[in-house]
Assembly symmetry: C2
Homo-oligomer: 337 residues x 2
């Protein structure tokens, strides 16, 4: 298991009990809790403070490393440079020193890769836990005229995505479903390459470059995959996104694994991919700058007046995407559990 997807609280519950119960209203808070916005943006006068928190559970092989990269991704897509982390490490009561050693080494390494400092946190042995759990708070700063929100997409923009669909999901399926995939004739070498996809989970380099180019919206699609991420941009920006399946790059390993399990790679968890809504006149520059980092980037669709997401499938059909996309991982875990 690379990472465990814990169950998202449904949007209607979030709306009813969470988004509205936030204490006092602070006029310095530019972006607070809400649909599609993963980080808060706070006005500090000269700059903005960007803050985000993520709960991470999963395999010890990657846990600490992922916690750093995933939380920093959410800062980077607001156009801010992640700077500081606070970690809460919940260990099972019988956690060995080795486990603590492994996880904190990963955190240290990932933090060095991103260039951030862990400034505080808390570590506990928690009764009842059967695996470690991390809450990672990430904090960054952005200049006031450059921060980017999910909800900023504008009609006329092009939609750019980096890398290939379902990077994270491909890695998860290749490890968690390895024996099923082998039974279905998937080669060991494919599984091995697929499991390494997890190493591409940071979107920091391309997010920083796109911030400098100047984009209207950025988002890292996690649960619900590319289509889930596009829906969050569309519905929070009050625009219509039209995208074409044949323009969305899918890695060979992802294709093989998704075909074998009958999984839609466009609805499979996709940390590692960055989606951006880019003004027409900056699309070429954006693509060039991302390519110059050695990262793949593709125009997959466009933004129009209207509402929602329409995906034109390869078979000629079209599909309307709702506000919440159930991740294929949830569906398939239920089938095989």
């Amino acid at each position: 298991m690379v990472i465990t997807m814990v169950g998202k609280v449904p949007l209607d519950i979030l709306r009813k009990y969470i988004f509205c119960r936030i204490g006092v209203s602070d006029p310095d808070v530019i972006v607070g809790p809400g649909y599609g916005e993963d980080s808060a943006v706070i006005d500090l006068g000269d700059r903005v403070l960007v803050v985000h928190v993520d709960p991470i559970t999963g395999a010890v092989d990657w846990l600490g490393w992922l916690a750093v990269h995933i939380s920093c991704n959410d800062i980077a897509v607001t156009g801010a440079k992640p700077r500081w982390l606070l970690s809460v490490l919940y260990f099972p009561e019988d956690a060995s020193e080795e486990l603590i050693d492994t996880i904190t080494k990963q955190i240290d390494n990932a933090a060095k890769e991103v260039g951030v400092m862990v400034v505080g946190g808390h570590s506990e042995y928690t009764p009842g836990l059967n695996r470690p759990l991390i809450s990672m708070t990430a904090i960054g700063l952005a200049s006031k005229d450059k921060y980017v929100r999910t909800s900023g997409a504008k009609p006329g923009d092009s939609i750019i995505m980096t890398k290939t669909a379902a990077i994270e999901g491909t890695a998860i399926l290749s490890t968690d479903f390895a024996h099923i995939l082998r039974d279905k004739g998937v080669d060991n070498s494919v599984l091995k390459r697929a499991s390494n996809f997890i190493k591409n989970i940071s979107v920091l380099p391309e997010a920083l470059v796109l911030t400098d180019v100047g984009v209207n919206s950025m988002h890292d699609p996690t649960e619900g995959g590319i289509l889930g991420g596009l829906a969050e941009i569309a519905y929070s920006s009050n625009v219509k996104l039209e995208v074409w399946e044949d323009k969305i790059p899918v890695a060979e390993e992802t294709k093989i694994i998704c075909d074998a399990l009958k999984v839609d790679p466009l609805k499979l968890i996709s940390s590692g991919v960055l989606i951006a809504s880019v003004p027409q006149e900056r699309v070429e520059q954006a693509l060039n700058e991302i390519h110059s980092l050695g990262i793949k980037a593709s125009v997959i669709g466009k933004v129009e007046e209207g509402s929602g997401v329409i995906i034109h499938r390869k078979d000629g059909s079209t599909e309307q995407v709702g506000k919440s996309v159930v991740d294929e991982l949830f569906r398939i875990w239920k089938i095989y559990e």
Copy 2:
């Protein structure tokens, strides 16, 4: 159960694996991870940013409310006004809508009491959990010349504490050990009054007042009680603290409950108490200002050259206090479990 104390990771493990594995070293970080410092302090140029995170588990009756107050306390003792919160709410998989309703209402109410805004967070149903768990990140701002650290105590200072010893512990014992206490002849009316001690858990008012007066160190003693808190001030400041048991106020309810269970109220978890190291010439002003808030404040000892904490007991004996004080709650849970 009012609040569950989860097991602290021992100091030698923290030193070996956590305090030193913090990614890059950031020159803007004034206070990073370390013994006795519960909040990070970051230089923003004109001001300092103060950030803190706390894991909270415990009874649903108080969970959300406590999470807000306890995390805001840690910001306030640095001399900063808490402003923004990020909450991670981990619910058991079978959590009812009512549970979510209860906890988020408490968070909303407490945030209004403190005057802070919940700017973001994450809510999840977490497989394997049998009770809700909260990670609360609190963020505040302080002026650059006014922030206070645990490690700032100076020889010549007086040690002031507010309220009475073991406020939080008294509330916990009165509910978690109610039937044992009743068996030992403790009155129901005492237990009822003791359980209400939890309402005094915020140290925000006195911390803000003391910040304005100008103190050298502030700390809110949690696990390990007053003596644990004093040890953190002494060892992080490289000074010796000398305190007198007969100067430390203990509420009647605390005395009755601690006597019945043979518990030392000075080593019992004490959120709600503020300890401060105050320059001699400002002691009178400090006491007056706290009293004018309607809050009890007492001089309990003094700071000298040297190292560690010496407590002069009422029976004429003296006791040296080590760096880590095991909370009486841990000891007594083991006896009665």
